[in-house]
Amino acid sequence: MSEPTTDRAESAEQRDFLQVTDLHAGYGQARVLQGLDFWVARGEVCAILGPNGAGKTTTLRALCGMVRGRGSITLNGTQLLGRSPEQAARLGVAHVPEGRGTFNELSVEENLRVGAHLRTGVGRRRRAERAAVAADLERIYGYFPKLRQRSRQAAGSLSGGEQQMLAIGRALMLRPSLLLLDEPSLGLAPLVTRELFEIVRAVNEEERTTVVVVEQNAQLALDIAHRAHVLEAGRLVLSGPAAQIREDGQVAEVYLGVSVSARKTG
């Protein structure tokens, strides 16, 4: 496995790609996030780690508009906070929710086409856009050959790992500038998870898609991440290059459970 380059964020322009400032968010009375500040550079994989209930998922949901919040989230200078999920999607944010959220009654290919539904175009651009969507479909099948085999099958009949692949594939059909992955390893066998993370790494390297991944399995996430943030009780307790966090045994013990190499369950 190649070492990920740790710091791509030299220029200020890149650092400003995703900027989260003093983010407060929660559900009703429950205030989950208590003022988060972090940034993600363009083209990097950022892992958000931490114990259960730390606010990892809430952070992702705030980024894609599923949860309202206070503070500021800017993507390329555009304010994301206060937008609905459909607006966020239109701004290039593709969120793969926990539990995958595939369209179970639709075929695999239809799922992917739903992901591309924003890309229609009118008049002369229509044909060009259609060709681009067809090309993207091929590209996604290239990443996930199993999906091609099952393209006519209903998504609901796929295995958990295949559904997760489909969910990521659908998100990529949006041609997102920011890909959000919420617990992609949830409920999957270790081998499948590893394959999935390798694909995410390949997507990031080949398409320069910026990825924010929330993961219980810190080891896996740190393997593909350039940078990581550790959350605890709605606050950021640690940020830094992934390699540094991975090697800090004490950090691992205090914030990530017993050991980063042990698979955290529950």
């Binding site: 999607a89 959220g101 009654e105 639709l106 949006l174």
Partner: protein, 296 residues
């Protein structure tokens, strides 16, 4: 007339009324698929559409021109109902939404009475008199016409859902609204579209049944019960089931009316209720419906 032709005659007539039940059942199923709501006002909306058609014809418009105009008006009306009446209670407890549709039922019924009064009106028969003679079985043009119109509507819906981009987004919303949102689909607009379509399909049933029943504000009450039976039988989440269920209920209704002396013409309204009860007892998800289990 032999016993066999007599039987087939009843079946043909049953298919005619079954087609009407099928289209109203299809309207119910459409809304249920999109919103999880059982729309008790579906029949009344169809009745209102039928009055619109009647008004157009009464003011001199030819029927076959009045029909598309009526369908367009119904489509817009259905969208409006979603936006104004249903959207505000979206996400409220089920009972709240049920009460809202019952309220809509009463409102639309009273509105039609207010505008057109409760006295019955003659609705023009759009199909010519007479019919075909198929080996002793008489098939009226009107029966054929009803089945034909409903078949065309079903075919168009099938094309819309299976072969267009907008149909795909509609199915995505029906399947998983949260994920649809995350893909950038404007779910609110799709739901409006769904209600518009349902109102249109319902309007077809109203316009087709009116010449047989006389037009009055309570005209669709009985049809709605048959449609409920059809949707329950076919499965509330299955459009194909709604059609099959509608035809079955229509045939069952005429056959019991003709052959079971105890039932006769007066009691055959009980047929759909027996069907509903039997389905709920034996196979609650209906013939084509999906049982509420999900793969973990």
């Amino acid at each position: 007339m032999s016993a066999v032709t007599e039987f087939l005659q009843q079946v043909v007539e049953g298919l005619g009324s079954g087609a009407v039940y099928a289209s109203l059942a299809l309207a119910l199923v459409l809304i249920y698929r999109f919103t999880g709501i059982v729309n008790f006002a579906q029949g009344e909306l169809a009745m209102l559409s039928t009055y619109v058609a009647w008004q157009l014809v009464a003011s001199g418009m030819p029927f076959w021109l009045a029909l598309p105009v009526t369908l367009a008006v119904s489509f817009a009306g259905g969208m409006l109902v979603e936006r104004i009446v249903i959207r505000p209670v979206q996400g409220a407890p089920e009972l709240t939404v049920v009460i809202v549709t019952v309220g809509l039922f009463i409102f639309v019924n009273a509105l039609a009475g207010l505008i057109w009064s409760f006295t019955v009106k003659d609705f023009p028969q759009p199909f010519p008199d007479g019919g075909l003679d198929l080996a002793g079985v008489r098939v009226d043009w009107s029966t054929l016409g009803i089945i034909g119109v409903v078949a065309v509507v079903m075919g168009l819906l099938y094309l819309l859902f299976q072969h267009t981009a907008i149909g795909l987004t509609m199915r995505a919303v029906a399947c998983n609204p949260a994920s649809a949102r995350l893909s950038g689909i404007r779910v609110g607009r799709v739901l409006m579209l769904g209600w518009g379509l349902a109102a249109t399909v319902g309007a077809v049933s109203g316009v087709l049944v009116a010449p047989l029943l006389f037009l009055e504000p309570n005209m669709m009450g009985g049809v709605l019960i048959y449609a409920f039976a059809a949707a329950t039988l076919g499965g509330f989440d299955s459009p194909v089931g709604a059609v099959v269920g509608g035809l079955f209920v229509g045939v069952a209704e005429t056959l019991t009316g003709a052959y079971v002396d105890v039932v006769g013409a007066d009691l055959k309204v009980g047929v759909p209720l027996v069907i509903i009860l039997a389905v709920l007892l034996v196979r609650p998800q209906g013939l084509f419906g999906r049982a509420a289990v999900e793969r973990a």
